[in-house]
Symmetry: C3
Subunit: 484 residues, 3 copies
């Protein structure tokens, strides 16, 4: 651009350096002045000005190359992050991500068992014990942006299968996630809330008895800003050799819908409902209709028991329909949450059985934090002042009451088995039909990844069967938990 | 360098900035002109020129330091890559590498079983079921450039041991890899092709019966541009307490050689042969020569069965020699592949038994891709147009016929057991001696890491034993597979 | 700053570029000279000097921004390191760290068993076998600087539980580490030395019988420059259903203190002592006082045996007190190490039993390296000349003699069981009460991560019980080991 030197300089002086074009070079301006004043010849001006321009261009080119390398390097170096969200990797274009991590739930139980002592011979009364309720390692991620995968293995000592989630998924449709493999089927707010985030150490008996857990199947989950809808279907593992069976494994389908009419920062109202149908494997032998399809049983809300004090088996059960209702509200440091489940067991040759259960949970954060909520499930409490950052973490009080009643007096008139279910089928072992359980607890969230829990559980076992199998089991439980 | 100012400037003007020496500084050139013209004194010239040079040197030094830091940082940041080849790490000098990853094979089977129904009491007829055929996580890598290690754990539900490969290795000799630990012994093209890459959901019965799988031993593998040669030896796990045994575990040795006379981009011809010798543990009790050493059995080409419809036990087997022949060709989108196995069981006191099996596989890629091949094994198909990148992935049709015949009528005259092999040794369970199986399938390679498979398997079970144990098992199988 | 041009230039010329203030600009100096000489006007000088300063400021600002980005990037890129210390991650501020790795111990045993042959019917005599003594994968790290976590899973075939360490910990108190979860309780030098670093393939019988292994509990470990003190308490796993029991699981507490009076680079003297108390679960049935609490048994110092040739059960054992003494010295390439254990079993209704054992180990590094030692445990030998770096690695000779005597003749008068302990309780299986074992070995440390070991073990089994159960078991053992 051929500007008159004087005007260029005036412009520069008036507007400051920021306005000078990038190519502005004081050297060239000086050369112009010197040429105009005759101090240097036009030739010299030409040569020197070209040399100056060439040098500026070289400097600019080197700078651009450096900037480019630094940007590339910066992109490459942002592949790995390690923080309270865990160990995460992503490719430069973010089309591939991976996370490697796990969780540890170390439980310690001090139990006073006045049920098995009275009612059941040959089964241990649990006293004090330790247990790794969960100890998991896994890897998950995305590929080519839209595809998901995940494998998580559970080494905690209560698991018959060795993995939790094993999935291949697709998230290319807007707001929709499709998953294939072993993962939680849609059923129940307490069930779907991560075990790292549930308010008590164990989920309630109604949840553990009626909500679906993990199955190997297909789910399609879609959502909006304040609602979710999920449908799923699954197919069971098959039957191990030697059992008397006939063709197909268990299978089923399920659906859950949630809606949050109020969803603000410190005020949430959640409503949900779910339904599922299980078609049981047809394992009836010729003579008897006895099998475990219609077996309903529960622990006394602590996981140190393998034997269950509550257990009823409705023989001849072919399928089951389960309905669930959920309601919850979070108001600042308070929250209330309740669910109701009802199950109908459809039986062959015998009267169908209707059973149900419910729980109500209240929580209060002494340190003022609000429970998290997103996409239809509860999330964690993140301490405002973590231990080590000038604070005492977050402290939370919780209380829950749950009832499970698996007795249907009319259906129980026929085809009923109220026995141990243990391999020696000892009919002298008496089990209850109903549990009424109080759980009160204190949670200490040290930081975003670690919490300690203390629960006191008072489980009252009752029986509507003619076996007077009653008693109670009290437990004081402690947990150290880390998610990494 | 003392150049006459005018010549320097002329040189610069003629050749442009690139030719100017790095130290060329328009400022110094200007100073020279001004000095020559008398505008500034020689003293001023000295001082100003030195100052200019010092500034240029400082700028150059700062730039070099920055470049050095950026290069160091760039090296360090290239440690981690995450892409379709998985999550990989390497040290700056590449002497250490590591990979963390795994695979998921989620299978769903819909099975019509007309064999066990007719012939075998007390064994379940499999119907519809789901199964994690493989769910693996592992870590492997190199150390100090020449040393290898790897541990991979399999959580899929068909595995009695919990790991797949567990190795320490050395690759310091040119083109040679030595491995110690549990890994595949050299035997069979279909066997050595990764389960992520085999063309059908299950390998053929001859491969599963006669090829060696993974053992804990030592292999030495060497190769050239179109050939491979591998030798191995292994030692078994030992005998668990309580079984009647005498000293040594199984052991054996094996060798495999391959040659690709034609090995071009779209045209491959592969030839291979293998041999192995197994010396069985001497577990004979005093009276009987019955043990499982001479047990030959097979599934109906689908992994949902634990009980095998084909099973023969040649008692008194001390050792076995197995020969394998392989031939394959890949021509653009087509491929043909076949193997033949023959095994001789060497028996104590009874006549030796000769049995064999073979398969022939044909594949055709509708979307035109070519099957991969390298170092004597088949590799994957990489879709030209992956889903999500404007394409439908790669689609492949496959068909395989395999025959397994474990009946040697002459050897079978003596020391033969055609029974269930289940722990209660029920001789009323009849098994076949021969399988003839058609498998046809469609594979959909979504992208480099994910494929879906559908197989239809028609397994015809026949018997040359005097037990008329015949029938067939048809299965429709689906698989979702991800390698990460 | 208004300096007279001449003085500025003189200053610059005298002191060189380094002394020029950063803002010094030869261009501005030239402009001053030209202005002073009248070649350019004061106006022109103003404009040009401002333009030159503005340009310098812009260049400086760009440079600072680049430096800042490069430093950020450099920090971020130092997240990942992969070297002989393994695969390590850390956050930019180092408050989060993580390590993913594992180990493989691949063992091969060639065993000559002259004990079980003579004394025990129906138990296999082990001959030659392979075994993955350890095959582990795990992840551990720190969070928010002071918190620790770790999960490691063991897939080697000798483990009844599936994990090794599973911990949550805190290291915020100076020089103190608190751990909760499953990890080694404080007891024994050989026990606490990592299996990657012990001098022989198996720890001695006294260590394996008397030292504590891993339990689920709490430890507090503190240390100084040459001493350590650790206390711990634990609670057992509970009792599985079906066993006759009464309330509480095993629990116990333990302490260990070490002191290194001499701790120089090539000369170490280590002293240590430990104590632990185990309160056994009260599993006595009404009639008999027989249970496994007082069972003391040992292998012949090789892990290929599940059945133990040494075994005594003192019935009615309620608790046990164990005392341990440790002494070791490292002098350049030599080292000597010895431990003595004594255990008192406190019995209900029967006389208490006192048993003991000891070992003495000598090592010598042919290639001159010194054994490592830190914080009260032995550490590895790091080869001076690793294989591949111009050397043959490090070569070490080791020899150990250990004695275990679980016979207390006076206590053995009553409530004694010297039987197999196998489930069929066959009293015709005779076991010894004493082992005297020589282990000699050669270790080849290829590099910092890989070693090979060869051991020859001569185990003499004797019996002070009236059963003459004597014999010996010789074994030649090989191990390939990698830590990654």
């Amino acid at each position: 651009m051929k500007l008159k030197p004087t005007s260029l300089l005036i412009a520069g002086a008036l507007m400051g350096a920021a306005v000078l074009p990038v190519q502005a070079d004081p050297m060239v301006d000086l050369l112009k002045v010197l040429r105009d004043k005759g101090t240097i010849s036009a030739e010299d001006y030409s040569l020197l000005a070209n040399a100056a321009k060439a040098k500026e261009e070289k400097v600019a080119a080197e700078k651009e190359e450096m900037v480019s390398i630094v940007k590339e390097t910066e992109k490459k170096s942002s592949l790995v992050t390690l923080d309270s969200k865990g160990l995460n990797f992503q490719s430069a274009d973010k089309s591939f991500t991976a996370n490697i991590g796990g969780r540890i739930h170390a439980d310690y139980g001090f139990i006073s068992d006045d049920y098995f002592d009275r009612n059941v011979a040959n089964v241990n009364e649990v006293g004090n014990a330790s247990k790794f309720r969960r100890a998991r390692l896994g890897m998950e991620g995305t590929m080519f942006t839209n595809w998901l995968y995940g494998v998580e293995v559970n080494f905690g000592s209560n698991s018959s299968t060795e993995f939790t989630d094993v999935i291949i998924g697709y998230q290319g449709f807007e707001n929709t996630t499709i998953k294939l493999g072993r993962h939680k089927m849609p059923s129940g707010l307490e069930e779907l809330t991560s075990s790292n985030r549930i308010s008590t150490m164990e989920r309630s008996n109604p949840t553990n008895t009626f909500a679906l857990g993990r199955y190997n199947g297909l789910t399609v989950a879609t959502k909006g800003s304040n609602w979710t809808a999920t449908g799923g279907t699954w197919l069971g593992d098959g039957v191990s050799a030697g059992e008397n069976s006939d063709k197909d494994s268990d299978y089923g389908y399920a659906g859950r819908a949630t809606f949050a009419p109020i969803q603000e920062k410190d005020s949430i109202v959640h409503l949900g409902l779910s339904y599922n149908h299980i078609k049981y494997e047809d394992t009836f032998s010729s003579d008897s209709l006895a099998n475990n399809n219609g077996r309903l049983r529960a622990r006394p809300n602590n996981n140190f028991f393998d034997e269950r004090p509550v257990q009823v088996i409705y023989q001849g059960t072919e399928s089951a329909d389960t309905y669930g209702l959920e309601a919850a509200t979070i108001q600042g440091p308070f929250s209330l949450q309740a669910e109701y489940f009802k199950r109908e067991l459809n039986r062959k040759e015998f009267k169908d059985a209707d059973v149900d259960g419910w729980y109500a949970l209240a929580t209060y954060t002494l340190t003022g934090e609000t429970r998290g909520y997103r996409d239809g499930v509860m999330r964690t409490i993140s301490p405002k002042n973590a231990v080590g950052k000038g604070g005492f973490g977050a402290w939370e009080l919780v209380a829950r009451y749950d009832e499970l009643d698996v007795w249907d007096s009319s259906a129980a008139q026929e085809g009923l088995l109220v026995h141990s279910g243990s391999t020696n089928n000892n009919f002298n072992n008496l089990r209850g039909t109903k549990s009424e359980i109080w759980t009160i607890g204190v949670n200490w969230y040290v930081n975003d990844n670690i919490r300690f829990m203390a629960n006191y559980v008072d489980a009252d076992i009752k029986s509507d069967a003619a076996n007077n199998a009653e008693g109670d089991i009290k437990a004081f439980l402690l947990r150290g938990q880390v998610a990494f």
